[in-house]
């Protein structure tokens, strides 16, 4: 059983999805999906433990040897990611039934869970697989299901947002496919490890350069890196709350994983950082992302949109950590994946709770909610502080590592800009806090009471995690550090 964990990771939600159709009642489906997601979480926890104890786990699908058959390969990096994704999925799913009762028509509930599990399958598959083409397949599974998930939103603009995301996402995926195709043309292999071994022979060809450019562009789009972020705000804003929470906590993380996997493992750090001026490019784009995202967030009136733009800024932080290409920098980026999942999961779930009670997340509707929904607002406050980077929250830990990585390299101006970026975060978080706590409540919302437990439990689990991992950083930092160390070690010297 333990030997088959890697395939179980994907197969459990994949089988779970069609089974949902057989279960007729929505509550039953919800329970089933929750169990399936919980099982995935257990599987990924076991997998990570196995990886940490005995190193990389390699699983050959159907017993076919690696370069021919599909291989699942789990090292510390994707083990870490699998845990984040399955954990967030389970936590979000906990609140799902309550939330979609108000946001999605009853007859579509079963569809929602099927799509949700498929999307989860796709993300887990992208992360778990060691085969480049398989990445594309799973990416499409997760993308197609998430387009549909977004389109379930009750706002009519959801359809439009999903359509935009569909077009752009498809182009992005196609770019990745083109890149993989070009690599296949040059090396005759699709296995990532094999690609990594064979690519250096043909590294100095225009085909490989082009392949690299296509792959990176495709990933940047999925990652919503500035200036390819334009699909994200609308998609996050108009999707059902649960979908937003799920995607915000997982989808961009998967794209970021692909970025690391392709640059460090497939193309190799030295190739990636010499072929393109990645350091400079990503540093600039990351910084621009931070500022554009944060400033845009300040001007929004829809709180979901505020945090959607904030996600773009947070992706900027991750990309900057990545662009430093030192162990500390990569550790910071990986930590921020984990931490951002915790913060945004809590925030979007809390917004889901507000949506459940009020039916809107326009900022003026938040007036007086500090008294009416104290626990939900306190969660937003704590997660918001974490987003800013207050000490004793996770946000501080990853920013701290990011800053020390920058100072290690002597990039003071960037460090300074990041600090200014944090101040911008303060502005939009404070805007919400001020309205929620210091304004009298609206007369239309006078009957609003605290969110149901189905929301509060996952929200506060995440909030506590925000604080716990901000104080006891052993688990997160150790895994992130070990993962980034092995990535850089495998690549030998990276261009300074």
């Amino acid at each position: 059983m333990l030997a088959h964990l890697p395939i179980l990771q994907v197969i459990v939600p994949l089988i779970g999805a069609p089974v949902c159709v057989l279960l007729s009642r929505a509550r039953l489906v919800w329970l089933f999906a929750l169990i399936v997601s919980g099982l995935s979480f257990i599987v990924s926890a076991l997998l990570l433990q196995q990886v940490l104890m005995s190193g990389t786990v390699i699983y050959e699908l159907g017993g076919w040897d690696a370069p021919w058959g599909i291989e699942y390969r789990i090292d510390k990096l994707n083990g870490f990611l699998l845990l984040i994704i399955s954990a967030m999925s389970t936590l979000v799913l906990f609140a799902a039934q309550t939330s979609i009762n108000k946001e999605i028509p009853a007859e579509k509930h079963t569809h929602f869970y099927i799509l949700y599990l498929l999307s989860l399958t796709g993300m887990l598959g992208v992360v778990v697989t060691g085969d480049a083409f398989n990445v594309f397949v799973f990416l499409e599974i997760s993308s197609l299901s998430s387009y549909a998930l977004i389109a379930l939103g009750k706002d009519r603009r959801a359809l439009w947002a999903a359509y935009q995301y569909l077009i752009l996402g498809t182009i992005g995926a196609t770019f990745i496919l083109i890149g993989i195709g070009l690599m296949y043309q040059m090396t005759g292999t699709l296995n990532m490890a094999d690609l990594a071994a064979r690519l250096p022979e043909v590294a100095q060809t225009k085909t490989v350069f082009t392949a690299f450019a296509f792959v990176i562009t495709g990933i940047c789009l999925k990652l919503a890196l500035f200036p390819l972020h334009l699909w994200l705000p609308n998609a996050y804003t108009y999707a059902p709350s649960i979908v937003t929470a799920f995607l915000a906590a997982t989808a961009t993380k998967v794209a970021f994983y692909l970025l690391i996997r392709f640059t460090y493992s497939v193309f190799g750090g030295s190739f990636s950082f010499t072929t393109l001026p990645l350091q400079f490019l990503f540093m600039t784009l990351g910084l621009l992302g931070i500022f554009v995202g944060s400033i845009a967030a300040i001007y929004q009136t829809n709180v979901k949109q505020i945090f959607a733009y904030s996600s773009i800024a947070q992706i900027g932080y991750m990309v900057i950590g990545f662009s430093i290409s030192s162990v500390t920098g990569l550790t910071a980026a990986l930590l921020h994946i984990f931490n951002h999942a915790l913060m945004k999961g809590a925030l979007f779930l809390a917004l889901g709770a507000v949506m459940y009670r009020i039916g809107s997340v326009q900022i003026n509707q938040f007036q007086g909610l500090g008294q009416q929904m104290p626990l939900t607002m306190a969660a937003i406050l704590v997660a918001g502080l974490s987003l800013i980077g207050m000490p004793l929250t996770v946000g501080f830990v990853s920013k701290w590592y990011l800053l020390s990585a920058l100072i290690e390299k002597g990039w003071w101006p960037v460090a300074l800009l990041i600090l200014i970026g944090s101040l911008l975060t303060l502005v939009y978080v404070w805007k919400i806090v001020e309205i929620a706590y210091f304004k009298p409540s609206l007369s239309t919302n006078s009957t609003v009471i605290e969110a149901p437990l189905a929301f509060l439990i996952p929200i506060w689990l995440l909030v506590i995690a925000n604080i716990y991992f901000g104080v006891d950083t052993r688990l997160s930092v150790e895994v992130a550090h070990a993962a980034s160390e092995s990535l850089l070690q495998a690549q030998g010297q990276v261009r300074p």
């Binding site: 350069f209 450019a213 001007y299």
Partner: protein, 566 residues
């Protein structure tokens, strides 16, 4: 032996803990017994490093025993024992606890084998002793305590910075000879100097000690400055600069002491004067001189303690301490008078009292090493000591004109404590070999030869004569209630005045500047609000799909282009 590994500060900290939770007779018994046990324990401890552990990447030696630290360990135990007896009547728990913590910190500091441990106890000394001053519970005491604390903490911070520099230079934190080369040496030197009341850095002492409680001052006079003397003797023996600093320290307080009215402040000045002798000894740095400095520290703790105790008794019984208010107390406080005179004789270095056997060592060392001028200064200072501490203190408190105050001798515990101290003064004076056997070096010194005894007696008689003559002619500065300006005027009056005027100017400028900036910002806001709608629109409007794809193409072509040309 497991006992070995208990550093001597531990019993005192335990005692502090017990003092916190017990009351009355039980507390008294425990507080007396613990120093005795600790002393016996210390007596058995052989030299060497008894405790060692790693912290971060540093080797810490919190318990290192050698002859120098043992000497201070003994005297601190004696001082603590006497002071505890003296303060048995005190019901104020915070004072008792603070006193025990303070004595423990002093012991911790002298047995510290590395600079970090030293720093910890250095700061603990400051933070625990400040409660002894605060316990007076007057506004003056509060202000003095805060000034005291600031200066003491500053000294600790300098020590820490110095230690960091020292670590960088020498890759070790061991507290051994430091020397004045390099920034580390100077920083630590200044840190020690502040605690040792070097000239211009001495005001915390004369400011705070007279403001402490009756019993608090007895504790204070024993530990803080002696720890500093120990630290100097360990880190800077033979540093010539110290000879001159010490010489200045012996002289200048005399003048302040003569005109000062508060008799405990007179003693505080005289404390600096005595410290001067020790500092000179350390500066000369020969075996004899170090012996002299260390034994003088030993004796000073006893006789200065005795004097502070007798003045404390006067303050305690009469509620007054100014020379102008007192006088004629010998009739009603005869025991205190006698004991005070013993202390006065000791500090004046009468033969057969303990001051004589140690002070003469420093003076001999000065002569032997060619510091003739210094010797003369010390001689002058000795006469001065006799004047202000030997004669002025007992004369104005107990004799002089009859102030009409009728008090009685203090409670038995206070008398007993003074009696023990006086007994030690005389015992060591008569049988100095006991003290000499404890000293770090064996020099075979004998204070009782004809020249020493004669010279000292002559000196004392002539200064006594001078006092009598001046007093009869009415030329001796009379005791007047007055405030005497010392160097602390500079930072308590001059600096604040200057700063106040500077800040007034700055605030004026600041106000103008801010007005201008605010105007600018306002006009900018008007401008921004016009642009506002355009900006948000640019950043966050729903872009048509075509432009998104356009971006995608731009990025891709950039990447391809760059990867080909880069």
């Amino acid at each position: 032996m497991w006992m070995l590994e208990i550093p001597p500060f531990v019993p005192f900290f335990i005692s502090a803990l017990i003092a916190l939770v017990t009351r009355g007779f039980l507390r008294a018994v425990i507080m007396i017994i613990i120093p005795v046990i600790s002393m016996l324990h210390l007596w058995m401890v052989p030299e060497g490093i008894h405790l060692q552990f790693s912290f971060l990447s540093f080797e810490l030696l919190p318990y290192r025993v050698d002859k120098l630290s043992l000497m201070f360990g003994y005297i601190f135990h004696i001082a603590a024992f006497i002071a505890i007896i003296y303060s048995l009547h005190v019901r104020d728990t915070s004072q008792q606890v603070a006193a025990m913590m303070y004595a423990g910190s002093g012991l911790g500091a002298v047995f510290a084998g590395d600079l970090i441990t030293l720093f910890v106890f250095w700061e603990l000394l400051a933070f625990t002793s400040v409660f002894l001053i605060l316990a007076r519970r007057t506004q003056r005491a509060y202000a003095a305590a805060m000034r005291y604390l600031i200066i003491q903490v500053l000294s600790g911070v300098l020590l820490l910075i110095g230690a960091v520099f020292y670590l960088a230079d020498n890759a070790t934190l061991e507290f051994a000879y430091l020397g004045l080369d390099g920034i580390a040496g100077w920083l630590i030197f200044i840190a020690f100097g502040i605690k040792c009341a070097f000239p211009l850095a001495h005001n915390w002492l004369t400011d705070a000690y007279p403001e402490a409680t009756v019993t608090g001052t007895v504790f204070l006079s024993a530990f803080t400055t002696k720890v500093a003397v120990y630290a100097l003797a360990r880190g800077y023996p033979g540093t010539e600069l110290l000879v001159y600093i010490g010489a200045v320290m012996t002289c200048f307080p005399i003048f302040f002491a003569v005109i000062e009215n508060d008799l405990r402040r007179v003693l505080a000045y005289s404390l600096i004067n005595q410290l001067g002798f020790m500092v000179v000894g350390i500066g000369i740095g020969t075996a004899l001189a170090i012996n002299g400095a260390v034994s003088h520290a030993f004796n000073d703790v006893i006789f200065k303690g005795l004097l502070f105790m007798s003045m404390g008794a006067v303050l305690h019984m009469t509620g007054r301490i100014n020379g102008s208010d007192l006088g004629g107390l010998y009739k009603s406080m005869p025991k205190t008078t006698v004991l005070c005179i013993v202390g006065a004789a000791s500090i004046s270095a009468f033969p057969l009292f303990n001051g004589f056997v140690s002070k003469s060592m420093v003076m001999s060392a000065a002569l032997e090493n060619g510091y003739d001028w210094i010797w003369l200064i010390l001689l002058f200072a000795s006469a001065g000591v006799f004047h202000h501490a030997g004669i002025k203190i007992p004369y104005f408190a107990f004799f002089s004109h009859d102030s009409g105050i009728r008090a009685s001798d203090p409670s038995n515990n206070m008398i007993l404590a003074m009696l023990i101290a006086a007994g030690l003064c005389i015992a060591i004076g008569i049988y100095p070999a006991a003290l000499y056997s404890l000293l770090p070096y064996d020099t075979g010194y004998n204070p009782y030869d004809a020249t020493h005894v004669l010279a000292q007696t002559q000196l004392l008689f002539f200064s006594a004569l001078a006092f009598v003559w001046l007093n009869l002619r009415g030329m001796y500065p009379p005791e007047r209630p007055s405030t005497n300006l010392d160097f602390d005027w500079v930072y308590r009056r001059l600096f604040p005045t200057i700063l106040r005027s500077i800040f007034t100017a700055i605030w004026k400028m600041d106000k103008k500047l801010r007005q201008r900036v605010i105007n600018k910002i306002e006009s900018n806001f008007v401008f921004m609000s016009k642009k506002y709608s355009q900006l948000t629109d640019l950043l966050s409007r729903g872009y048509p799909l075509g432009s998104m794809v356009l971006w995608l193409v731009i990025v891709l072509s950039c990447y391809v282009f760059l990867s080909v040309i880069y």
